[in-house]
C-alpha cells in the first residue's frame, strides 16, 4: 500500500542486526537527571503518551511505568517490564544507546532478545531524536524497585532464543517514508501510526506466530481477545469516519456516531486524551484518509434497526436484551437522550466476526479517559455462554443488515478464555 506505509529492509540485514545485538552488553550507571533538558523531557512525555508506554507498563493500581501488567498472547502471558530508572529492576543502567537499540531492534541491554510483545517492529521506524526524548522522559521518572513478574509462556516461546528465529523470519524494519504529495499533517499522522503509535500491533492481522502480516496493514487484528477493526477501506463502521469524528474518538474514547473505546483501546485513548492536539489531529487526518473508501461506500444506507424481525427471529435473545440491555440501549433510555450512540451506530454489530460484541458483553466498558465517560457493566459473571450468544445473535439481527454470525456459543466460550473471564 502506498499511503506512507513501511518499506521493508532485506531480511538478511535484520538478521545481521539481531546477531550483532548479542555481542554488546551496555550496562552503565544511570545518567543523572540533570543530563536532560526540560524541553527534551517534555517532548518525551508527549511521545510516551502517543506510544501509550504507561498503558502497557503499569499494573492495575501499580506505580506508573513500574511494569507488571499481564499481556495475553496465543503463547501465554507476558508481564510487562519495569521501565522506571531503577538500577536493578528497571531501565536504570541502560545507556541512551542501549535504550535506542532496545526500541529499534528488540534487544535487552545484555544482548538478550526482547519478546515482540514490545512493538519494536514499529518503534524501529521512530527517529533518533524521538527515541532520545523518550529516554530522557523515562530516565527522569521516579525509580521503583519492582522485580519482573515471571512470564507464563508455553514452549518454545518460553525460550528467549526462539525470538531470534522469529526475528529472522518476521522482523525486517525499514525507514519511514513520507508520502509525497500529501500534507505535512497527513505524513505526521502516518509517521506516528507506523512508529510510536504502533496502531498495527492491534489493528493488523497477525500470523500464527503472532507476527504482523505486513502485507495486510491495518486490516483488523485480534488483541487480548478483542477484535481491533480495520482502519482502512475495510472499515465496517456504519457511519462514515471523518477526521473530526476520529479526533473526537481518539481524544474522548467516544464518538456519538460510533461507539465507545473498549478493551485495550481504552488505555490508548486515556493517553491520547492528554497528548498534544496537533499530533492527535494528524493521526485523525491520516486514519480518516485510510478509511475514506469505506466511508464513501457507506454514506447512503441508513443504520439498521430491525426490531420486529429480530424479535421474531431471536425471541430468547430479545427477552434477555429487553431486561439486560434496553435500560441503556433502547429508545427512551437516558443514555440515548444524552448522546450515547444507539447500537446501530456502533461498529461491533457490523463486524465480520462476533468477537467485539461478545467481549463487550462479557467485559463491559470502562470510561477511557478518567472516572467520567461511557461505561457498561460486565456480564461475564451473570450470563451463561448461551445467554450471551442469544443476545449477540439478537443484536446482529436487529442492528445490522449482515448475515447472522455462526457458532456463537462456542465463540463466547472462546471469548471468555481469551478475555481472561474464564
Amino acid at each position: 500500500m502506498s499511503l506512507g506505509w513501511k518499506t521493508p529492509a532485506p531480511p538478511a540485514a535484520a538478521l545481521a542486526l539481531a546477531l550483532a545485538a548479542c555481542t554488546g552488553g551496555a550496562r552503565l550507571p544511570p545518567p543523572p537527571p540533570q543530563t536532560f533538558s526540560a524541553a527534551e523531557i517534555e517532548k518525551g512525555a508527549e511521545l510516551a503518551k502517543l506510544a501509550d508506554c504507561q498503558g502497557c507498563h503499569t499494573a492495575d493500581g501499580g506505580q506508573a511505568f513500574a511494569g507488571g501488567r499481564p499481556l495475553k498472547s496465543p503463547f501465554g502471558t507476558i508481564y510487562t517490564r519495569n521501565i522506571t530508572p531503577d538500577p536493578s529492576t528497571g531501565l536504570g543502567r541502560y545507556s541512551r544507546e542501549a535504550f535506542v537499540r532496545a526500541l529499534r531492534r528488540g534487544v535487552r541491554f545484555d544482548g538478550a532478545e526482547l519478546y515482540p510483545a514490545m512493538p519494536y517492529d514499529h518503534f524501529a521506524y521512530a527517529d533518533d531524536a524521538d527515541l532520545g526524548a523518550l529516554y530522557a522522559y523515562l530516565m527522569t521518572r521516579r525509580p521503583k524497585d519492582r522485580p519482573p513478574t515471571p512470564n507464563e509462556l508455553i514452549p518454545p516461546a518460553n525460550i528467549r532464543g526462539a525470538v531470534a528465529i522469529w526475528k529472522a523470519l518476521f522482523f525486517h524494519p525499514g525507514r519511514f517514508q513520507p508520502t509525497p504529495g500529501q500534507s505535512a499533517e497527513f505524513n505526521r499522522g502516518a509517521y506516528l501510526v507506523q512508529s510510536l503509535g504502533h496502531c498495527g500491533a492491534c489493528h493488523t492481522p497477525h500470523n500464527i506466530l503472532d507476527a504482523e502480516e505486513t502485507k495486510k496493514p491495518l486490516q483488523g487484528g485480534v488483541q487480548e481477545g478483542w477484535y481491533a477493526p480495520p482502519l482502512n477501506a475495510l472499515s465496517p463502521a456504519s457511519v462514515p469516519w471523518t477526521p473530526e469524528r476520529v479526533y473526537r474518538f481518539l481524544r474522548t474514547g467516544f464518538d456519538r456516531d460510533h461507539s465507545a473505546a473498549a478493551g485495550p483501546m481504552g488505555s490508548v485513548v486515556r493517553e491520547l486524551a492528554r497528548a498534544p492536539e496537533p499530533d492527535v489531529r494528524a493521526l485523525s487526518v491520516y486514519l480518516a484518509t485510510l478509511m475514506q473508501p469505506a466511508s464513501a461506500a457507506k454514506g447512503r444506507a441508513a443504520p439498521a434497526d430491525h426490531a420486529a424481525q429480530a424479535a421474531a427471529a431471536q425471541p430468547a435473545g430479545a427477552a434477555l436484551y429487553a431486561g439486560a440491555c434496553a435500560a441503556c440501549h433502547d429508545a427512551g433510555a437516558a443514555m440515548m437522550r444524552e448522546g450515547r450512540p444507539p447500537l446501530q451506530f456502533a461498529t461491533p454489530p457490523q463486524e465480520d466476526r462476533p468477537t467485539d460484541v461478545i467481549q463487550v458483553i462479557l467485559q463491559g466498558v470502562q470510561p477511557a479517559t478518567g472516572p467520567r465517560g461511557p461505561y457498561m457493566p460486565a456480564f461475564a459473571g451473570t450470563l451463561s455462554d448461551g445467554q450471551v450468544a442469544a443476545i449477540a445473535a439478537y443484536v446482529r439481527a436487529r442492528y445490522s443488515d449482515r448475515p447472522p454470525w455462526k457458532d456463537l456459543t462456542s465463540a463466547v466460550a472462546k471469548g471468555r478464555r481469551q478475555g481472561g473471564q474464564g
Binding site: 521518572r141 433502547d330 443514555m335 437522550r337 478518567g370 467520567r372
Partner: protein, 741 residues
C-alpha cells in the same frame, strides 16, 4: 436524688395542667397560666416551640414509654442517640423505649432535620423533657409512698424505690397523672451525675435490619393494594418532553392510569417493571428547554449576575502590613447524589392524603403539599420513613409531591413512586457554585494585620415552604409561582456560612454577595456555603503561613484564642504526628485544616497525607486523622461515623465532582457522567479523635468535616508538589496541569 422543684410542685397541686394539647407552633404569650406566671427562663432546644411534655414523652399504664421527636433518621444515627438520652434521663433500659420520629400526625414540629441541629434541638428537648418526666413521676411516687422525693431512687428498669425497699412503677404512677404540662427549664439532669448510657458507644438501633434485609426504608414499604408509579419528565430541571405518547403508554397491559395535571404526568401500573417500561416508552418523545439557556463556559459564569451585598464583618484599621497575599477560590455545582433515588408512598382515602416520605421536614412538606393538592393542611399527613442518605435537600420532597398527585388519580390505592436514576441526577436541587476571594496582609512579625474576604453565592435554601418550591408545583395547571430564593441570615448564614474567619484578626472586612438568580436549581447541600468558605479560608491560611515562613499548624494556633479550638487543632496535629511528618519530596505531602462549623457549632480539624502521581496528576489519600469537639458526645462511635463519612464524602467532592451542563440541560445524568469516590479512591485509613465535653451543650457534627477535609486535601497537594490549586475539584487533569511534566 432530688426530683423536686417547688414551682412544679405548686403547679401540680394547683391543678393548672389541662391546657389544650397542641403540637404545632406554640405562642407562649397566649398561655393562660394565671397569676403565678412569671417570665419563665427560656426552655432549651425545641422545648422552646413545643413545651408540652406529652408531645415528647408518653408513659402508658403498663409502663411502656414512647418518645417522640420531630427530627428524622437520615442515617446519622439520631434515633440511637435520642434513645440513649431518653433512657439515661428516665433511667430505663434503652431497648424498652419506643421512638416515634417525624410524623405530622404524632410528633412535635421541629421544622427540618438539617444543619446539624438534631442534637441541639431535639436531643436537648428530649434530655430535658425526660428529666422533667422523671421529676414528675418522682413527685407522684413520693406522694404515693409517703416519702420525701429526694429519698427516692430509680431502679434502672422503670421504678422508684423507697429507702425501705417499697417500689412504685412508672406505669402505675403515670396512670394518675397528665404529662400534658409544660416543661420546666431546670429539671435536674441524671446525666450530669455520671450517667451510664450517654457517652457510650451504644450500638445503632437501625443497623441490624439494614444488614439483614429487614424493612428499613420507604422504598421497602408495601401496603395492601399498592400500585407503582413513575413520573414523566424531560431529562433535567428546566426541560419538558414534547408530546409524549400517553395513549401508547395507557394501552400497555398492566398500566392502570396515566395521571395528568397540566404538564405533570405519571404512569401508574400494577407492577413496578411495567411502570418503568411505560416511562421508557414515554421518554422516547423529544424534549425542549422551558427555562432560559444555561450559561456555558466556566461553572461560575452564573455568579456574575446582580447581587445583594452585605458586610457581615467589619473591624476597621490595621491596613498596610508588610506583605500582602491575595487569592481566589471556587467550587463547582455539586450533587447530593443519593445512592437510592427518591421515593414516596401516597394514599388518598376518605378525603385524607397520607404520604410516607423521607423528606427532611414533614411539617413544611405538609404545608406545601396541602397547597399543591388544594386540600386543607389537616387533611394531609406526612410520615417520615427512612430513605437513602440525603445530605441536604434532594429529591425527597419533590417525589412526595409526585406520589401525592399520582395518588389523586387512584383514590383508595396506595401509590409507590420512585424516581429513576437519571431523574434523581437531573432534577434534584444542587449545591451551588461559589467563589471566595481572600486578601490579607501580614505584619512584620508574620501575624495577620488585616483580613478581607468576599464570597459570591446563590441560595442554599430552596426547601419547599410552598407548592412553588416543588418540581410539580410548576407543572400543574394553574402552576404555582416559584419560591423566591432568599439568603439565610447570619449567624448561621447560607452562602456566607463560615465566611467570617474564626481566627483572631485585628482588622478586617467580610462581604457576602448573594446572587439570587441561579441558572440551575439550587438548595441546601450538606454544610451549605461553609464548604467553600472553609475551603477558601483554610487554604488561604496555609498560603499566609507560607508567606510568613511559619508552620501551618503553628500559624493557626498563633491566631486562635478559643481554648476548645486550640485543643482540637493540637489534638489532631498530635494524633497525626504533624511535627514529625516527613518533609514533602515533590510527590508526598501532608495537609491540615480546621474550622468551627458555623463558628458556633462543632470544632473539627483534619490532617491527611497524599501522594501525587506525577505522570497523571492522580492524588491518592493515605492516612487521615481528625479531631472533633461536638460538646457532650452522646454516642462517640456515632459521632466518629458522621465525621468519617463527612471526610470521605468531602474528599469525593473535592477530588472529582462537578455537575456538568450545556446550554439546554444538565449533562451529569448518571454515575458515569457524575462519578463519585469508589473503594479505590477512598483514603487508606481515617481515624477520628473525639474530644468529649460532658455537660456541655450538644453541638451537632453532621456537617463539621466537609470544609476541613476539602481544604486539607488541597493543602496536602500544595505541600506535596508545590501546586496550589484553588478551584475545585482537584481533578487529575487540573493537578497535572499545575505540576507540569
Amino acid at each position: 436524688m432530688s426530683v423536686g422543684a417547688p414551682s412544679r410542685r405548686d403547679a401540680l397541686a394547683g391543678g393548672a395542667l389541662v391546657v389544650a394539647f397542641s403540637m404545632t407552633g406554640h405562642a407562649r404569650a397566649q398561655e393562660a397560666r394565671g397569676p403565678q406566671k412569671t417570665v419563665p427562663p427560656a426552655l432549651p432546644g425545641s422545648l422552646k416551640t413545643t413545651p408540652w411534655l406529652d408531645a415528647w414523652i408518653r408513659v402508658d399504664v403498663t409502663g411502656q414509654i414512647t418518645v417522640f421527636t420531630g427530627k428524622a433518621e437520615l442515617g446519622q444515627g439520631i434515633k440511637t442517640a435520642l434513645i440513649q438520652i431518653a433512657a439515661e434521663e428516665l433511667d430505663v433500659p434503652p431497648q424498652s423505649l419506643r421512638l416515634i420520629t417525624a410524623d405530622t400526625g404524632q410528633t412535635p414540629n421541629e421544622g427540618f432535620t438539617a444543619g446539624s441541629h438534631s442534637m441541639q434541638d431535639s436531643g436537648t428537648a428530649i434530655l430535658n423533657a425526660a428529666a422533667n418526666v422523671r421529676m414528675i413521676l418522682g413527685q407522684a411516687a413520693a406522694r404515693r409512698l409517703g416519702v420525701a422525693a429526694d429519698l427516692l431512687a430509680t431502679t434502672g428498669e422503670g421504678r422508684f424505690k423507697a429507702p425501705d425497699g417499697r417500689l412504685a412503677g412508672y406505669g402505675e404512677l403515670a396512670a394518675g397523672l397528665s404529662l400534658h404540662v409544660e416543661a420546666q427549664p431546670n429539671a435536674p439532669l441524671r446525666s450530669r451525675q455520671g450517667g451510664k448510657l450517654m457517652g457510650q458507644d451504644y450500638p445503632r438501633v437501625d443497623i441490624p435490619a439494614k444488614v439483614t434485609g429487614g424493612q428499613a426504608y420507604v422504598q421497602d414499604l408495601r401496603l395492601p393494594g399498592m400500585l407503582h408509579a413513575r413520573v414523566v419528565r424531560g431529562p433535567s430541571f428546566g426541560t419538558e418532553l414534547t408530546g409524549p405518547d400517553f395513549a401508547a403508554a395507557q394501552a400497555m397491559p398492566g398500566v392502570v392510569a396515566v395521571a395528568r395535571n397540566g404538564r405533570f404526568a405519571a404512569v401508574i401500573a400494577e407492577r413496578e417493571w411495567t411502570a418503568v417500561q411505560a416511562l421508557q416508552r414515554l421518554q422516547q418523545a423529544a424534549w425542549r428547554r422551558t427555562a432560559p439557556p444555561l450559561p456555558e463556559g466556566r461553572p461560575e459564569a452564573g455568579l456574575s449576575g446582580a447581587s445583594q451585598d452585605q458586610v457581615i464583618f467589619d473591624k476597621p484599621g490595621g491596613a498596610g502590613g508588610a506583605k500582602t497575599v491575595k487569592a481566589r477560590y471556587s467550587r463547582p455545582w455539586l450533587m447530593h447524589a443519593a445512592v437510592g433515588p427518591s421515593c414516596a408512598v401516597a394514599l388518598l382515602r376518605n378525603g385524607q392524603m397520607t404520604v410516607w416520605t423521607h423528606s427532611q421536614g414533614v411539617y413544611p412538606l405538609r404545608g406545601a403539599l396541602a397547597q399543591l393538592l388544594r386540600m386543607p393542611p389537616d387533611k394531609v399527613r406526612c410520615i417520615h420513613v427512612e430513605g437513602s442518605g440525603c445530605y441536604g435537600h434532594n429529591g425527597a420532597d419533590d417525589v412526595a409531591a409526585d406520589a401525592a398527585l399520582a395518588a389523586l388519580a387512584v383514590p383508595g390505592r396506595p401509590v409507590r413512586m420512585q424516581w429513576m436514576r437519571e431523574q434523581e441526577h437531573g432534577w434534584e436541587p444542587l449545591g451551588c457554585v461559589q467563589v471566595g476571594e481572600a486578601e490579607a496582609s501580614l505584619d512584620a512579625s508574620g501575624r495577620i494585620a488585616h483580613f478581607r474576604y468576599e464570597v459570591w453565592s446563590h441560595s442554599h435554601n430552596g426547601r419547599p415552604m410552598t407548592a412553588g418550591g416543588l418540581v410539580a408545583g410548576a407543572e400543574v395547571d394553574p402552576p404555582f409561582p416559584p419560591q423566591v430564593p432568599r439568603p439565610i441570615p447570619m449567624p448561621e448564614g447560607g452562602g456566607d456560612r463560615n465566611a467570617i474567619p474564626i481566627y483572631a484578626v485585628p482588622a478586617g472586612r467580610v462581604v457576602s454577595h448573594f446572587v439570587r438568580d441561579a441558572p440551575l436549581r439550587a438548595s441546601a447541600l450538606r454544610s451549605l456555603g461553609a464548604h467553600l468558605n472553609i475551603f477558601a479560608i483554610e487554604c488561604f491560611m496555609d498560603e499566609l503561613a507560607k508567606a510568613a515562613g511559619a508552620d501551618p499548624v503553628a500559624f493557626r494556633l498563633a491566631h486562635l484564642d478559643d481554648p476548645r479550638a486550640r485543643d482540637v487543632v493540637s489534638r489532631c496535629a498530635e494524633a497525626f504526628g504533624w511535627a514529625a511528618r516527613r518533609p514533602s519530596d515533590g510527590r508526598r505531602g501532608a495537609g491540615f485544616a480546621f474550622a468551627r462549623y458555623k463558628n458556633l457549632a462543632s470544632y473539627c480539624a483534619v490532617a491527611l497525607e497524599v501522594e501525587v502521581e506525577h505522570e497523571t496528576g492522580a492524588v491518592k489519600v493515605g492516612r487521615v486523622t481528625a479531631a472533633v469537639d461536638a460538646g457532650e458526645a452522646v454516642n462517640p462511635n456515632g459521632l466518629q461515623n458522621q465525621i468519617e463519612g463527612g471526610i470521605v464524602q468531602a474528599l469525593s467532592w473535592a477530588g472529582l465532582e462537578a455537575v456538568g451542563f450545556d446550554a439546554a440541560h444538565r449533562t451529569s445524568f448518571d454515575w458515569s457522567a457524575y462519578p463519585i469516590a469508589r473503594f479505590k479512591d477512598v483514603p487508606r485509613s481515617v481515624a477520628v479523635q473525639v474530644i468529649d465535653r460532658p455537660g456541655l451543650p450538644f453541638l451537632g457534627a453532621g456537617e463539621a468535616s466537609q470544609g476541613p477535609a476539602s481544604a486539607a486535601l488541597a493543602n496536602a497537594v500544595a505541600d506535596a508538589c508545590g501546586a496550589r490549586i484553588r478551584d475545585l475539584p482537584l481533578s487529575p487533569e487540573r493537578v497535572k496541569g499545575a505540576i507540569g511534566v
